[in-house]
């Protein structure tokens, strides 16, 4: 029996690995990825229906037990994000929403201010809000005030797969912010997911690294294990690192005198 369940948005999840549906060469791989990774939460985007072509519906590839986490990708402002969120909710698959507000097309970095605005509006409407932001303490604090269910700081910019470039800032968020911290974006390798969990993150979201691996199923399995390993390492407490002997003169010698 798992006593370390991830409590979020009213659910109790066994897995701390969230996954996505973007960038797959073949969506048919998605059910296998969900099973191999053990993930229970999956992201989707919202787009206009293309009446000209029949590209198949990604929803057919998402196992029924998965909790859907639609994102507001495409939104450049809080207003747009709110609109997309409401549309996503109207699809009838729950009230979870990942807020992505990006008006920077070069690096795809999120706009923390607009994200906080959208978070407040949507949290008040009863959404379970997962805001995707830069690893910034002030932004995170405003998200706490706005009623977010978690904070999702980026590890490195979307799609770069550079790992935890923001690790120092993420560490600060883990220590200072009372909400679950879910590291999203930029995790390229299972070892990086493991490191994030070992630092104390509550969960990680991995999409690109799995979807674009040459063997997505095996990569999904590796990520599932890595997240578990990192979490267990965190829970069992790091061993004391032996300090190196210092050659400087004693600072406390004066205490033994007299």
């Amino acid at each position: 029996m798992n006593s370390d369940l991830f409590k979020i948005g009213g659910l109790e999840l066994e897995s701390r690995l969230l996954t996505g549906t973007g960038k797959y060469a073949d969506d048919a791989v998605i059910p296998g990825v969900c099973e191999a990774s053990g993930s229970q939460v999956i992201t989707v985007a919202l787009r206009r229906v293309d009446f000209e072509s029949d590209t198949g519906n990604v929803m057919d590839c998402i196992p029924k037990h998965m909790q859907l986490l639609p994102n507001t990708s495409g939104a450049r402002t809080a207003e747009e994000a709110v609109r997309i969120a409401r549309l996503a909710k109207a699809m009838g698959c729950g009230d979870w929403i990942k807020i992505e507000v990006i008006s920077d097309n070069k690096y795809l970095l999120p706009d923390g201010y607009e994200t906080a605005k959208a978070t407040e509006i949507l949290a008040n409407e009863g959404f379970v809000v997962f805001p995707y932001v830069n690893a910034d303490l002030y932004v995170a604090r405003s998200l706490v005030d706005a009623g977010a269910a978690a904070v999702m700081p980026l590890g490195s910019p979307i799609g770069t797969n550079r790992g935890l470039k923001t690790r120092e800032m993420v560490r600060i968020l883990i220590d200072e912010i009372a909400l679950p911290i879910i590291v999203d974006a930029g995790i390229g390798r299972p070892s990086e997911a493991c490191e994030a969990m070992e630092m104390g993150a509550d969960a990680v979201l991995v999409n690109t690294a799995i979807a674009t691996a040459s063997d997505p199923l095996m990569m999904a399995k590796a990520f599932g294990r890595a997240v578990k390993a990192g979490r267990e390492a965190y829970l069992s407490g790091p061993g004391a690192r032996q300090r190196q002997a210092s050659a400087s003169s004693p600072l406390t010698g004066f205490l033994s005198e007299g």
């Binding site: 996505g20 206009r48 229906v49 009446f51 639609p70 109207a90």
Partner: protein, 66 residues
């Protein structure tokens, strides 16, 4: 009459409902969300919602994304 569907102008018959428009294109009502002039139309109301000349329709669905 003319309505703007997902950003493109199209000719439709007068008195067309949202449901009618979707059915004509073979779109299942459960897999999409519809906005008419920025207002979300609940699935249950697809059959009663008549379109008017110049209406802006957005028909969206979930796709792959991260």
């Amino acid at each position: 009459m003319v309505v703007i569907l997902n950003g493109k102008e199209i000719e439709v018959t007068a008195d067309l409902t949202v449901l009618g428009l979707l059915e004509a294109r073979g779109i299942g009502t459960g897999s999409v969300v519809v906005e008419v002039n920025r207002e979300i139309v609940p699935e249950a109301a697809f059959g009663e919602t008549k379109l008017n000349d110049g209406d802006h329709l957005e028909v969206l669905r979930f796709v792959g994304g991260g």
